[in-house]
């Protein structure tokens, strides 16, 4: 007969011999010495897990998971000019990558053309510079848009960049309904964490809903929003906060779209998610499992969704950039591999693995290849992809899944009580919670209670520098010249007319996508259309809470 857990703890567990006084996760949650059947009291398989592909999808959204189709290997890439990035895209596809993911530079992300004074020093640095349709054409030159799915990480200017992508496809004779891909377009998490914005939350959400509505009608294979926890985590949140604020953002979009009069099942199947996979192996796996369970339940119970696809949380994952170290950068390869494995065991649909040199610069071709190969090794050598949710039923994993779920639901309830996520953001609630957690973690790190190998333990005195990617100083000038030349060459009357139509739709609250699509086709730029947002919706300023 087995002793009860409490009895076992008292009689058998040598507490005094523990290496440390307290064991905690990366998110500072207690870890017990043992998880056993008693931790899953009142726990019913059918309610908590269900088989893979069955409600509440804790064990995965597909019945056969990676036995049917491996996750999409999608490396985020973008730097310099459109031509530079196009070359990297083709390199990655040639190496067996199965989807594209585009990083735009800061001016593009913030709504400035390359020739704007605020773009100075930033053109092509953190991503690829795209100011007008010609750049988008060059970016996707020779890429079969009807066969490759593309992800675009862009938010406050997402409507413009999506319109450009659609316009490029149209020119090549590919209809919108053949296009598969994702645009991040998650403005709520911008205010919470990533902080690239133009206008305040309310008009920003309105544009997101315009895009959800437009895509549901015109581009049914496109994911018009990727509800993102990644940046929330990178800003310093705990795992449970990442989960809670992401799902609260998702609830915010569903509420706004339903308020617009859309039927929940008409758009919910195309909502997708994006989570971080950080270092704490089991906690990360549990987070992804809890995410699926909460979302499925929320969609069915709270929003009355009837289609199973509306209830399935499908997600992209990226390994944690903030976990990487500038010190002994080759160690990052190991971190990334372990995090990627957590993403796979957590049941992700798509994965980006960071490159070892990303604390120093954008990744070089050599380091991005190692990152991609890491996924291929997990997929083809380790055997983990032969199993469907192999950790399901583990006492520890199920107990942590329940714990994170409870913590996230508690946050969601508090946000509901405040009047919803937009109000909570205006109050600074998620922002302050994250800043608090981030500062706490830094203090633990400074005291050695959290360890970063090579940083606060196992340091090396002398480290040889590694080769990193440099962005040429001529990129900025070339790109600014190109924008100026395109502006001079286009049909000025058509541009004026098209911008007036965008302005009218912005003010009259009709769907912005059709006029933006028309505007990018006559080469209106990211900056010009963003200026209309600034004029019509106002400019949001950082409340700068510390």
């Amino acid at each position: 007969m087995t002793t009860p857990k409490a009895e076992w703890m008292k009689q058998r567990y040598p507490k005094a011999a523990d290496r440390r006084e307290r064991f905690a996760t990366l998110s500072d949650a207690d870890v017990e010495p043992l998880y056993a059947a008693e931790d899953l009291d009142d726990w019913r398989y059918a309610d908590k897990l269900g088989h893979p592909g069955e409600f509440p999808y804790t064990r995965g959204v597909h019945a056969s998971m990676y036995r049917g189709k491996l996750w999409t290997m999608r490396q985020f890439a973008g730097f310099g000019t459109a031509e530079d990035t196009n070359e990297r895209f083709k390199f990655l596809l040639a190496q067996g990558q199965t989807g594209l993911s585009t990083a735009f530079d800061m001016p593009t992300l913030m709504g400035y053309d390359a020739d704007h004074p605020r773009a100075l020093g930033e053109v092509g640095r953190e991503g690829v510079a795209v100011s007008s349709l010609a750049d988008m054409e060059a970016l996707f030159a020779d890429v079969p848009l009807d066969r490759v799915t593309t992800s675009m990480t862009v938010n406050c200017t997402a409507s413009v960049l999506l319109a450009m992508y659609f316009a490029v496809a149209e020119r090549r004779g590919i209809s919108f309904d053949q296009l598969g891909g994702t645009i991040q377009n998650d403005m709520l998490k911008e205010f919470i964490a990533q902080k690239e914005w133009i206008s305040p939350p309310e008009p920003s959400v309105r544009v997101v809903v315009d895009m959800i509505e437009f895509c549901a009608r015109e581009a049914p294979r496109w994911h018009p929003v990727s509800i993102s926890g990644y940046h929330i985590r990178e800003a310093g949140s705990t795992a449970a906060q990442e989960l809670a604020f992401t799902l609260a953002d998702g609830i915010g979009y569903v509420e706004a779209a339903v308020a617009r009069g859309l039927d929940v099942d008409s758009f919910a199947p195309r909502l997708s998610f994006f989570f971080n996979v950080h270092n704490d192996f089991f906690e990360e796996i549990a987070k992804l499992r809890a995410a699926r369970r909460i979302w499925a339940t929320t969609m069915r119970e709270r929003f009355g969704a009837r289609q199973p696809k509306s209830m399935m949380l499908r997600t992209h994952c990226q390994t944690a950039g903030c976990s990487l170290t500038a010190q002994q950068p080759v160690n990052n390869v190991v971190r990334v591999a372990i995090q990627a494995l957590a993403g796979v065991l957590g049941g992700t649909q798509s994965l980006h693995t960071n490159s070892m040199d990303e604390t120093l610069a954008l990744p070089s071709e050599e380091s991005v290849l190692v990152a991609l190969r890491t996924q291929q090794i997990i997929a083809e050598e380790t055997g983990v992809a032969n199993f469907v949710d192999p950790l399901g039923g583990s006492y520890a994993v199920e107990a942590i899944t329940d714990r994170i779920e409870a913590e996230a639901l508690d946050y969601i309830r508090r946000i509901d009580d405040m009047g919803g996520i937009v109000r909570a953001i205006e109050l600074g609630f998620p922002q302050k919670e994250i800043a608090e957690a981030s500062y706490r973690f830094q203090q633990q790190l400074d005291r050695g209670q959290q360890v970063m190998v090579g940083v606060n333990k196992y340091q090396l005195e002398d480290e040889p520098p590694i080769e990193v990617l440099r962005i040429g100083a001529d990129v900025e000038r070339k790109q600014a010249d190109r924008v100026r030349a395109r502006k001079a060459a286009r049909d000025a009357a058509a541009v004026r007319q098209a911008l007036a139509e965008v302005r009218r739709a912005a003010a009259e609250e009709t769907n912005l996508m059709p006029p933006i699509l028309a505007a990018v086709k006559v080469e209106c730029t990211v900056g010009e259309i963003s200026d209309i947002f600034r004029e019509t919706f106002g400019v949001y300023r950082d409340p700068a809470w510390i």
């Binding site: 001016p107 930033e122 953190e126 981030s438 400074d446 520098p465």
Partner: protein
């Protein structure tokens, strides 16, 4: 009270377009906990805005957080704007993603200290105590 006895006033500033403010916020808080008076500009500041804030707040030092790769443009631009306002004696330091080979050039331009990922808040606070003096009123 002589100016030597008053707490140091530090402007933590975030120039450029990116939103990576985790480091800036942590350092602002660590400075506050260390007893400095801290003014945080918030995100998306231009060099003019930062120099203007430094003048208005009468700070002793400016800590710039830059993770966008634009450090070779933004550090000199802030220093130039300070010079225009007769604030060349304000200590400029910074942190973020700055490759080692860029550091000598930044030092030559007048950036007094650069902290890269992994620097502890204690190290940075200690550096400020040793390298920043309260400016004469």
């Amino acid at each position: 009270m002589s100016h030597d006895d008053r707490p140091l006033r530090i402007l933590v500033a975030k120039p450029g377009l990116d939103g990576h403010d985790r480091g800036a916020k942590i350092i602002a808080r660590a400075f506050r906990d260390a007893g400095f008076e801290v003014i945080y500009t918030g995100l998306h500041q231009t060099p003019e805005m930062i120099a203007e804030a430094a003048a208005q707040e009468d700070v002793d030092a400016i800590g710039l957080s830059i993770l966008s790769g634009a450090h070779m443009t933004l550090f000199p631009a802030v220093i130039e704007e300070l010079r225009k306002r007769d604030l060349a004696d304000v200590t400029v330091f910074g942190g973020g993603i700055v490759p080692a080979e860029d550091m000598p050039e930044l030092e030559k331009l007048g950036v007094r200290g650069i902290f890269t990922p992994g620097a502890s808040t204690d190290t940075i606070v200690q550096w400020v105590r040793e390298h920043v003096a309260a400016r004469a009123a």
